[in-house]
Structure formats: C-alpha cells, structure tokens
C-alpha cells in the first residue's frame, strides 16, 4: 500500500525538496557584486537578516497582514460556510460555483480591479466627490487596509470551502437536539457546532495564513512602492539586488516563521477545544 504514495512522493522530492535544498545551499554562500556569489558555508546572511530592524519591520508587517486576513476570513467565512453546508442540494452546487468564482480571475487582474475602485480618481473617490461628501480624494489605495481587503478577497473562498466541508460532517440533528434542550441558536453554535468544527477552523486558518504570508502580487499592486511584505522583499533581493544568498536566507526565514506560527496556532487551538 505504501507504494501508492511513490509517484506523488517522487514528484515532491524532485520538484520541491531538491530545489529547496539547492536554495538552502545558496543561502549559506557569500554575496559578491561581480561574481554573483562565492562558495561558502556561513550563517552570515541569516544573522544579518534577523538582526536588521528593516527586515524585522517587514516581517512584522507580513505577520500583521496575514493574521488580520486570517481572522477576517474566519469571521466572514464561518456564517457563509454554515449556510453553504446546510443548504438544499439543488442550489448548493450553484452556491459552491459562486464561492469559487473569484478564484477564476487571476490575482493581477483582480488587483487591477481594486486599483480602479480605490485609486485617487477611482470609483469610490469619484462617487464621494460627486455626492459632495469629500473635497479631496481619500488615500485608499497604497495602504495596509487596501492590501488586507485585496488579500481577503483572494483567500476567503479557501476558508469557506474548507469550513463548509467540515460543517457538513456535523449531523444536523445535534443542533436540533441542542435546541430541544433549550439552547438558543447562539449557545448551540458556541457549545455544539463550533467545537465540532474546530478541525475545519484549524485547517482553513492554516491554509489561509500560509497563502497570506506568501502573498506577492496583491501587496505589490495594492500596497504600492512604500509598502513591503516578505515575498516582494525576497524578490527584490534576487532580481533588483542580485543578492541571491541573502534573498535565499530571507526566503528560508519566511518559511520557518510561517511553519512555526502554523504549528503553534494549530496546537493552541486544538488543545483548547480538546480540553472542553
């Protein structure tokens, strides 16, 4: 039976593990402005990135944006997922298609839409000015808020679909039993549905959090030139600075931080609900 994972395992080994190992090797090299890099085995790139207040700031922004997006997705995604899970089968397939619909549009195209909406002369500013509510255009684009809104719109479907799959597995009659025993819908949700949906909450949050930590197109396009998250910073080091070793070190720091926060988050949430 174990042989069944062989094809997928080989693919992962070839296309993921091998390039990652190469990237890790590069991260230990030394940068050379003329030779691209010099062979070395030294942790200097990691130490520099970790000690640098600039990259600490970039990592802070990245974590803030990723956490905010995950929480927002959870808050707006749970009701939608519950509604989707408890829907009649006829309309359900249509609702699922509508949920997935935003994913059919590429990130860049979607961001262009947000730019048209949020820009200085965009639809929102034009409307507010037309109605006489404001005189000067509001700065909506190129803000952290714009990035969060843009990313939430990208990742929300992942959260909704993951949650709804888990909620579907919670028998409906448990909610009815809770109601029979006198629980208000809110109490039934808090004490029955939510604890049983924890695996979905964890899975959806992990998925969304990882996507947000690694977001590239949306922060670049909606955050503007002054806003920096980790993925664009990694790109800058590789392409603009041609400093591959440092870029590789930044990429691994992003990977480790994302992994650590994901494991920590899942453990905390899991333990809390197991205890109940």
């Amino acid at each position: 039976m174990a042989a069944l994972i062989l094809p997928a395992g080989l693919l992962v080994l070839l296309l993921l593990v091998a390039p990652m190992a190469m990237l890790f090797r590069i991260s230990l090299n030394e940068y050379s402005p003329t030779q691209l890099m010099l062979e070395a085995l030294q942790p200097g790139n990691y130490l520099r990135a970790l000690a640098d207040p600039y990259y600490q700031g970039v990592m802070g922004t990245t974590m803030t944006v990723a956490l905010s997006c995950t929480v927002i997705c959870l808050i707006i995604g749970f009701p939608a997922a519950w509604w989707l899970a408890r829907m009649d089968s006829k309309q359900k397939s249509l609702a699922v298609i509508l949920t997935v619909f935003p994913l059919l549009v590429g990130n860049v195209v979607r961001s262009a839409g947000w730019m048209a909406l949020l820009g200085r002369d965009g639809a929102i500013n034009a409307t507010l000015r037309g109605l006489g509510i404001i005189n000067e255009p509001l700065q909506l684009l190129y803000t952290q808020g714009a990035v969060i809104v843009g990313i939430v719109a990208v990742v929300a479907p992942y959260m909704i679909l993951t949650l709804s799959a888990v909620i579907e597995g919670i028998p409906r009659n448990l909610e009815e039993a809770a109601a029979n025993l006198g629980a208000s819908p809110l109490v039934a949700f808090r004490r029955v549905v939510l604890p049983l949906a924890v695996p979905g909450v964890v899975a959806g949050s992990v998925l969304v959090f990882i996507l947000c930590m690694n977001a590239y197109a949306t922060p670049v396009l909606l955050g503007g030139p002054q806003f920096k998250m980790m993925a664009p910073a990694v790109y800058d080091q590789f392409v603009r600075g041609t400093n591959w070793p440092f870029g590789a070190a930044l990429a691994f720091i992003l990977l480790v931080v994302t992994l650590a926060l994901t494991v920590l988050g899942s453990a905390v949430v899991g333990r809390r609900y197991k205890a109940q």
């Binding site: 200085r120 002054q226 041609t242």
Partner: protein
Amino acid sequence: MIGRRAMLGAALAAPALAHAQANEVIVGTWGGDYAALLASEIDAPIVRPLGLTPVQELGTPAARKTKLLAERGSRRGSMDVVCLGDADCHAMGELGLVEELTPDKVPNIAHVLPALRSPFTLPHIYSVRVMLTNPAVISPAPTSYADMWAERFRGRIGISDLLYASVMEVAALVGGGGESDYRPGFPKLRELKALGARVYSANETLAAGLKSGEVAATIMWLGRAYMWRRAGIPVQAHFPAEGATPYVSAAVVPKNARNKQAAFAYLNAMLDPRAAQGFGERMGYLPTTTLATLPAPLLAEIGVTAEQQAKLRRPDFGYTARNAAEILAFWEREFKA
C-alpha cells in the same frame, strides 16, 4: 525492426540536421515589441538572406544573465546572441564570459558613435535620460537636474520605482558627486523626499499621474516620452544642462556560443541602417551608428543634436555593480520608507 529504407532515410537526414544546426543562431531577448521588431526588421530582411535561421529565446534579462553565469563552465552554451542592457553587458564582459568585439568580427562596429563604444558590447539602439514635464501644470520648465530641487516643485515630482538607480545617479550629480560616487546624492535625495517627491510602482502609474496633473515633472527616457505622447499623455522633454546619460539596449556573444560566426553576422545585421527606422518609430529608440539616418520629423521627437551628443555622460557600470546592494538599500530603506 529497422528496415533498409528507414536506414537510408536516417542517413540522408543526418547531414541535413547538422546543416540546420550550423545555420541556426539562438538569440536570447526580451519579448514584446523588441522581439517582434528583431524578427521583422532584422531577421527576415537581413539575416535570413545570409542563409542563417534566427531562433528567439524570450525571457527576462535576469534569466539570461543567470544562464550565462550558470553555463560559464560548460563548453557549449545555450545562446549565441544575448540581448541585455548596457550595464548587464558590461558586467558579463568584466566576468570574462563574452567575446571581445572588433571590426574584423563585426564590421559595422567601426561606425558606432564614439560615446557608445565598449569593448565587449554591441550597442544596438539607444535613448537618453531627460526631464519630462506636463507643460500645462508647470512653467517654466527645468533646465538642469538641479532645478528639480526648487521649492516650486514641492509635492509635484514623481519618480518611477523602476528608475531608482537613475534617480540616485541624478541626485549624485546634483550633490556634487558623479557616476563614480553616488554618496553625495544621499543628502540630496533626503531633500527631495522632504520636498514631497512621490514614488510610483510602475511607469504606467507615473504616466497616469503626469496626465492627471498630479505629477508635474519626472526623470525618464526620451524614447518613453515619445511613446507616451503617442498615447495621448501631454509630456515635454528637456535635456539637462548637466548632460544627458544614454541607455543602450545592447547584445553580447558568449564565449561558449555554439555558432560564433553566425552570432557575429547577426550582430552586424543589428547595426544595419535598414533596421533603424522600425525601432525608431515603434520604440522611440535611436540607431547607434553613423550609418543610419531617421526621417526628420521622427528625429525631432526622439533625436539628440550634435551638441547634446557631445555632452553625453558616461555611466560607471563598475561602480554601480560594486555598490548595487548599497544603492538599493538606501532607496528601499531610506528614500521610500
């Protein structure tokens, strides 16, 4: 089982295959207009009649540089001609990865404008860095780079993020430094930031700013100004009194190119005067040789006078390569922060 006919066929095909490879010239280049113009203005009318078959390999300059570096140990490289910007060509030359170009290999090189000559680089087309204004918004126009630091430009200078190295060089000139010393530009950039200069993430957003009047002046390539005017963006170009700096779109031949003779023939064709007009009209770029002339109305828009040409500045690619990390760090952390 391999039959007699198949064997015969294979035997006949083998020399033909070898012949095809001998005539192929692999050209690593940008996509878009540039690749299309190479195909229509150079490949079809000039290179193919020589019996050569150009094959384009499209990609980013970063990918081409990486390939050159990665293949440096191998005997047979994957590209015969590699199109890159002037700074990248210089860097590849410094590393000893590309052939030195002389008139006996590429005869047309003898006609290249003296200001654009470089031992390892074939300068194909060029434009110069100038100041652009929206004349409806600001008047009088700046006459020197230093003028852009005046109080009347407060909050009205726009800068493309893609041109950060150019802007840092300009600031260095204004601050009393130069192409070989950007440091005096750092305090000038702090001044420019205090004057409310805005950074735009793409040339297109900068163009929109110029059109709406949000941006009164910027630093840009003359060829781009020509394209913008054609797109209905009202910009006027002004040559800086300090002298304009050229940007040369160039090409090199790797030392391990498989088909060097074909590559040299291709470079020679790139300088053929017949190809110049297409690149001028569609991209706003000038020919680099004295052989080619463009129609007067086009020259009026994208051209450089003899006097301006005499004042062209020379970038110090060695300095920018050695200090690339410091230059980018200042831009990202201080100017943009």
